[in-house]
C-alpha cells in the first residue's frame, strides 16, 4: 500500500523533503513505517527526540495499523505559543 508522509520542522530539514509517497507492506503500523523511513533517510534519527504520530490529522499510538493512502505525520516536540 502507499502512504503519504509529510515532514515538518526539524524532520523536514533532515529528510530534505516536505512530502513523500512510501510503499509499505499491508498491515504495517505507524511504528513499522518509521523504521522503514529511517532506512531511507538516515538523518531522520534525531538522538533523544520524542515523536508523536498523527494519521489523517489525528493523534494515534505507534501500534496503529495503516490503510492505503493514509496521511502520516511524525510530530517532533511542539513549540507553539
Amino acid at each position: 500500500m502507499k502512504i503519504k508522509v509529510k515532514f515538518f520542522a526539524i524532520l523536514r530539514e533532515r529528510a530534505g523533503a516536505s512530502e513523500i509517497l512510501k510503499e509499505i507492506p499491508d498491515g504495517s503500523t505507524v511504528g513499522d513505517l518509521w523504521r522503514e523511513l529511517q532506512k531511507d533517510y538516515a538523518k531522520l534519527n534525531v538522538p533523544g527526540i520524542r515523536l508523536l504520530y498523527a494519521v489523517n490529522q489525528n493523534y494515534v499510538g505507534g501500534d496503529h495499523r495503516l490503510s492505503d493512502r493514509d496521511e502520516v505525520v511524525f510530530i517532533p516536540p511542539v513549540s507553539g505559543g
Binding site: 520542522a9 498523527a54 490529522q57 505525520v73 517532533p76 513549540s79 507553539g80 505559543g81
Partner: protein, 143 residues
C-alpha cells in the same frame, strides 16, 4: 474562530468576533516573541505548522473549553512564518458572562496549545538556530 495565518494578527477583529450580548467580560491573551531565551540573544523567530491539523487541534481546545467553563465565544489565531521580535505569535480572546470563566478558559487554551498543537518555533540567535523542543546538540551549528 480557530486558525493559523501568515498575516499580522488583528486583535480588534478577534474582540469583535467574541463580542456577545450575553457577555460581561472579554479576556484577551497575546503571546509575543521575546528577544532572549535560555541566556541567548534571539534575533528572529520562524513558526511552522501542520496547518490542517493545527486548526483542528485549536478547535478541539475551544470545544473542550466550552465544556469546562460557561464561556460565550472563543477565538484563537496563531501566526506562522517569520515573526519579528515583539510581535504577537498567538492571540486568544474569550468572552463569558462572568470574568472567572473567561480567565480560566484563556489559561487553559494557551497551556494546551503548548502541549498538543502541531506548531513549531525555530529560534535564530547569534551564532546559530534551533527548533525549540527538538534540540539534539547537533543542531547548534553555526550559521
Amino acid at each position: 474562530m480557530f486558525r493559523v495565518t501568515h498575516q499580522t494578527i488583528d486583535l480588534s477583529e478577534l474582540v469583535r468576533y467574541v463580542t456577545d450580548a450575553e457577555a460581561g467580560a472579554i479576556v484577551p491573551f497575546i503571546g509575543t516573541t521575546r528577544n532572549h531565551n535560555e541566556g541567548r540573544r534571539v534575533i528572529a523567530l520562524d513558526y511552522e505548522a501542520y496547518p490542517e491539523m493545527a486548526e483542528k487541534e485549536l478547535a478541539r481546545i475551544g470545544a473542550e473549553a466550552q465544556q469546562k467553563w460557561p464561556i460565550c465565544k472563543m477565538a484563537i489565531v496563531h501566526r506562522l512564518g517569520p515573526v519579528q521580535i515583539g510581535e504577537a505569535s498567538v492571540i486568544i480572546v474569550v468572552s463569558s458572562a462572568h470574568r472567572d470563566a473567561a480567565f480560566a478558559a484563556s489559561r487553559f487554551a494557551i497551556e494546551e496549545i503548548k502541549k498538543t498543537v502541531p506548531i513549531w518555533k525555530k529560534e535564530v540567535f547569534e551564532g546559530g538556530e534551533v527548533w525549540i523542543g527538538s534540540q539534539s546538540g547537533e543542531e547548534f551549528k553555526g550559521k
